[in-house]
């Protein structure tokens, strides 16, 4: 572990170990990621262990008990590698080390060991498309045209090749080519000019990148989020995106993982329409997870329009992930709320509804955290998380959203949503004991979202807090893995504000015993109470048990099943065969978590 803290951090109370039984150890359950809840950690902003004003890996280790108590299954770490930090760490200058701000490789090993001991897995961002221009590979490559790394990057004598390839950062880059006077050639870069693309035509590059993966996997990392994955190869006359060669390389990586590191995963970041992104699942032989970008803005649209169609339309266009694969879903993350995957009309609507202040706009999206986006409406926030946790996909939470943290619109670019985690009402929100001026970003201090009002310590003491609600929801999701693996079927309902669906066990899951009773989810997207009549004839003879309280509801018959939904309310039911329910058992069905664990 790196430099010891100046002050000993007070230990946080830990819930009973039985409250959140760990997932099986890595390697035991190859489908763990389909049932898991992911938690995205911005290490720099999570907890500062050595009091230098910047969050670090030992700080994350110190907060693992909290994350275990919360009930997350897997951490996703943003880039922690050495980097000039000209692109938030996505410009890596050394693939086999840890940025000194965050600690050391040994610190990461400690994190992995301690996380696994708590049943928590850890994956990390890995940028394989490009490096920083300060990476030794590029420094060597640009020296001349004959050095050993000369063709590790994509060089050309002019800047005219591949005109069909779009410029991704069109607001700051004019071309995908940049001239290097030292070598006297142009190099290819799909993102910033300081991020030269690696040349995957060179087998040495592909081998080197796989060796980089082995390095971290040997340390115990449970997988990678592959950043900017569509751009690995170039071909004349194409856009240079999603090429067959790229898929072939991912399949090769997957074979390495399956053969040498079973149970480890690949998560693809490919911002596109589901039907295109689904290619990265391959035939179950490429990525385990792919982010589902278009669902997120449509969740926000649906609750403002008070109708289900924005959600059901995109789900209807979403191919089912092959067995052994899964969509990854989210409400917010470390970037802006991207609106690339909506129509111009929908984007205008979302800007009007969620970014009334021009400062809220960032690039092609909205730079706000979840709670301020929803004007801190507790019921609405709960509804959106209920949808995230029950719709198909593995949900990814963003640090701080479990306590409804706010943002700082006056910080540049995407720093507005990367302010320090608010642990306590004390100095610097309990994030760091460094001088305030030394902090990487100022913590929130406003009266509504500031750390004095919104912090982990206060919410842990209050059983009715949002944090406790979230913990309870994660426990329910864990108890019903069908949320992760079950089939999804939308139910007809004449009321357009009601989104109802059933998650039921797939045929193959019924065979291996991991299948379970179907779960019925009913969600009211309206601020008003709404009636719903659901046609549940197929499940006639079952009794619905509400999942949070295990309250038995009237049995399902052949007639429409009437339900009254509270404003922004949701109900989750397990549909239990009546023959399996005995009156004497009803009284034994208690809550999901024992009261003493609250």
């Amino acid at each position: 572990m790196s430099e010891a803290p100046i002050h000993e951090q007070p230990p946080l109370p830990v819930g009973p170990a039985s409250a959140n039984p760990p997932l099986s150890a890595p390697g035991d359950d190859p489908r763990w990621f389909q049932r898991a809840v992911f938690y995205e950690v911005f290490i720099r902003g999570f907890f500062d262990y050595n009091d230098d004003g910047t969050g670090d890996l030992p700080g994350l280790v110190a907060k693992l008990d909290y994350l275990q108590w919360l009930g997350v299954d897997c951490l996703w770490l943003l880039p922690f590698y050495p980097s000039p930090l000209r692109d938030g760490g996505y410009d890596i200058s050394d693939y086999r080390a840890v940025h000194p701000d965050y600690g050391t490789v040994e610190d990461l090993g400690t994190l992995l060991r301690e996380a696994h001991a708590r049943g928590i897995r850890v994956i990390a961002d890995l940028v394989i498309n490009h490096t920083s221009d300060q990476h030794p590979w590029f420094v060597e490559s640009r020296q001349d045209r004959t050095n050993p790394k000369a063709d590790w990057y994509v060089w050309n004598d002019d800047d005219q090749r591949w005109p069909e390839a779009r410029v991704v950062f069109v607001d700051v880059e004019r071309s995908n080519w940049a001239y290097d006077p030292q070598r006297g050639q142009y190099y290819w870069h799909r993102f910033y000019g300081h991020q030269p693309d690696l040349n995957y035509e060179n087998p040495d590059v592909a081998d080197a990148m796989i060796d980089v993966m082995r390095f971290w996997l040997d340390l115990g990392l449970d997988g990678f989020r592959l950043d900017a994955v569509p751009f690995l190869f170039q071909r004349d006359g194409t856009s240079g995106e999603n090429l067959a060669e790229t898929h072939a390389f991912i399949r090769r990586v997957r074979r390495v993982l399956d053969a040498e590191y079973p149970g480890r995963i690949l998560l693809a970041e490919a911002n596109g329409w589901p039907v295109d992104v689904a290619d990265y699942f391959g035939d179950g032989d490429e990525c385990h997870l792919c982010f589902h970008f278009p669902l997120m803005p449509r969740l926000f649209m649906a609750v403002r329009r008070e109708q289900r169609y924005p959600i059901t339309e995109i789900l209807a266009q979403t191919p089912e992930a092959p067995r052994g694969a899964q969509w990854a879903t989210f409400l917010r993350n470390h970037d802006e709320l991207t609106l690339e995957m909506v129509s111009d009309e929908e984007r205008d609507y979302l800007f009007a509804e969620y970014a009334k202040d021009p400062r809220m706009k960032r690039h092609m999206g909205i730079g706000r955290r979840l709670a301020p986006l929803l004007e801190r409406d507790r019921r609405l926030t709960e509804l959106l998380f209920a949808l995230l946790l029950s719709l198909p996909g593995s949900p990814v939470l963003y640090y701080g959203d479990e306590i409804q943290m706010g943002d700082n619109l006056y910080l540049g670019d995407r720093d507005s949503v990367r302010t320090p985690m608010q642990w306590t009402p004390d100095r610097n929100g309990g994030f760091s004991r460094a001088d305030f001026a030394q902090l990487y970003l100022p913590p929130l201090m406003d009266p509504v979202f500031g750390f004095a009002a919104v912090n982990v310590e206060a919410q842990r003491r209050n059983p009715s807090s949002f944090l406790h609600w979230m913990r309870r929801m994660l426990a329910v999701r864990r108890q019903f893995p069908i949320f992760g693996t079950g089939e999804f079927e939308a139910l007809p309902c004449a009321n357009p504000s009601i989104l109802a669906f059933v998650r039921s066990a797939r045929e193959e899951d019924r065979v291996d015993g991991s299948g379970a009773n179907p779960v019925l989810g009913i969600h009211n997207l309206s601020r008003f109470s709404q009636p719903a009549e659901l046609h549940l004839g197929r499940w006639a003879g079952t009794q619905p048990f509400e999942l949070l309280g295990r309250v038995p509801f009237p049995s399902v018959g052949s007639h429409p099943y009437p339900v009254t939904m509270a404003p922004y309310g949701f109900l989750w039911f397990e549909l239990v065969d009546e023959a399996a329910v005995f009156p004497s058992e009803l009284s034994l069905l208690g809550g999901v978590l024992p009261e003493e664990s609250l």
């Binding site: 329009r305 169609y309 209807a316 009309e345 939308a490 007809p492 009321n495 046609h535 006639a540 052949s558």
Partner: protein, 446 residues
């Protein structure tokens, strides 16, 4: 686009059964109370409707359970009833909201049976679906989705929709709404539920089986959702979360495509704006002559007459409003084509061989009036006393969504050939049709 199969059932009932079938139909009609001479609206008020005159009866399925398809004249209407026959003691799987008692006793060479309204029984309907289409379905997943004066619609497995026509055209023959729908489908208009099988005897349509859109919700309900949000939040409708304008714009585009499809399917006639204005004036004169005194109305009608504009006349929907359309995961659909192109109001029609051709703007006017109507119904529901002053919000909502609907309609490529070339004339003509609709509708209300 698809071509539905056709099934014609021709088995005759023995003459000896005529009386008992007539009795069953009489019992059914008395129970439903939907086909009185006064055109009852199907509110369920039972009552005698006069003598039943059996027109035809066919065996759709022999044995027990068995099915008969019966057409009878009742109170000036021709109605169609599907009778289900069950051996005494057999289990009955009644659908929700259905009358569960038998219509009576029936006997034929296969023995004694209890007779039921088959559209109220899941198992009968599964058998009927099988007989008509060859499709199998789960009785537990049959449900009634609509019961109107004209028809009963049921869904099967959330996969198929079966509309059984009950009120038939006088003297039999094709169902006019079905003709419109199938013609639109043939020309590739894809905002309708795709047809699977057309059920008919001789030339009389008895039903239609279509693909079912599981996530559909009615246009009226969706508009109310938007209005509730606006009335609760106040402010400008464009700033309300439940803003309906995007939906209205897409609905306008879908409406234009429907008209282009009808034009392609049935062709067009030359329309005369002046003649239509005369018809509007005459119609309003009969319903609410005070409206014509208004200076603005008089000027509008005068301008239209003076415009000398030409406008195409096409087959139209005839009664196009928010209740006839539904929002689905694939966008807006037209889900109800009754009254089959026969306009509910008189103006704008060019009749040829008994078929009404009229300005497509008459349908547009119907929908615009529907926006007005739903906004005001929502006000009345929320604030019957008028103390909250929601009328201004209703008006703003209406204005915004009328504009959006018209923008979607008029910006659809090709629609310019069907409406007058001058936008001002388009607006005024639509307003004239809407004036007629409003006056006639209000005059018809008690």
């Amino acid at each position: 686009m698809s071509t539905p199969d056709e099934l014609v059932t021709t088995d005759a009932i023995t003459p000896g059964n005529v009386e008992s079938i007539t009795t069953l139909i009489g019992a059914y009609v008395d129970r439903q109370g939907r086909w009185n001479d006064d055109g009852g609206d199907g509110d369920g008020a039972a009552g005698s409707t006069g003598p039943v005159s059996l027109r035809s009866a066919s065996v759709v399925r022999h044995g027990r359970p068995g099915l008969l398809s019966v057409v009878a004249g009742v109170g000036g209407n021709d109605i169609h009833v599907v009778v289900g026959l069950r051996a005494p003691g057999e289990e009955v799987v009644f659908l929700a909201d259905a009358d569960e008692s038998p219509l009576g006793i029936f006997e034929d060479e296969e023995g004694l049976a209890l007779a039921y309204d088959a559209t109220a029984d899941a198992e009968f309907m599964v058998l009927l679906l099988d007989a008509v289409t060859g499709e199998q379905a789960d009785p537990d997943r049959v449900r009634r989705v609509a019961v109107t004066r004209d028809a009963v619609a049921l869904s099967f497995d959330d996969r198929l929709a079966f509309t059984v026509f009950q009120l038939l055209p006088e003297g039999g023959g094709p169902n006019p709404g079905l003709e419109l729908f199938l013609a639109l489908d043939r020309v590739g208009f894809n905002h309708v539920l795709a047809p699977i099988t057309r059920w008919r005897i001789d030339s009389t349509d008895l039903g239609i089986v279509q693909e079912y859109q599981v996530g559909a919700a009615g246009g009226w309900v969706l508009a109310l959702t938007s209005l509730r949000d606006l009335y609760a939040s106040g402010g400008a409708p464009e700033q309300a979360g439940g803003d309906f304008a995007a939906e209205a714009r897409h609905l306008g585009t879908m409406t234009a495509r429907m008209h282009l499809g009808l034009d392609e399917a049935f062709g067009r006639k030359a329309g005369d704006v002046s003649a239509w204005v005369d018809a509007v004036e005459s119609s309003v004169q009969g319903a609410d002559p005070g409206l014509l005194v208004d200076e603005g109305v008089a000027t509008m009608l005068s301008d239209l007459r003076a415009s000398g504009s030409r406008c195409a006349a096409i087959r139209t929907h005839g009664d196009f409003h928010l209740g006839r359309v539904a929002r689905t995961d694939q966008g807006w659909f037209v889900v109800d084509f009754s009254p089959g192109g026969v306009p509910a109001f008189g103006a704008g029609a060019v009749s040829e061989d008994g078929v009404a051709y009229r300005s497509p703007l008459a349908d547009v006017a119907d929908m615009l009036w529907s926006f007005h109507h739903v906004a005001n119904v929502a006000v009345t529901e929320r604030d019957p006393s008028g103390r909250l002053g929601l009328e201004s919000l209703a008006q703003a909502w209406e204005v915004r969504n009328r504009r959006a609907f018209l923008a979607g309609y008029l910006h659809t490529p090709g629609i310019g050939g069907l409406v007058p070339p001058v936008r001002d004339t388009v607006r005024k003509l639509a307003s004239a049709f809407e004036l007629e609709r409003s006056a006639t509708k209000l005059a018809a209300e008690p």
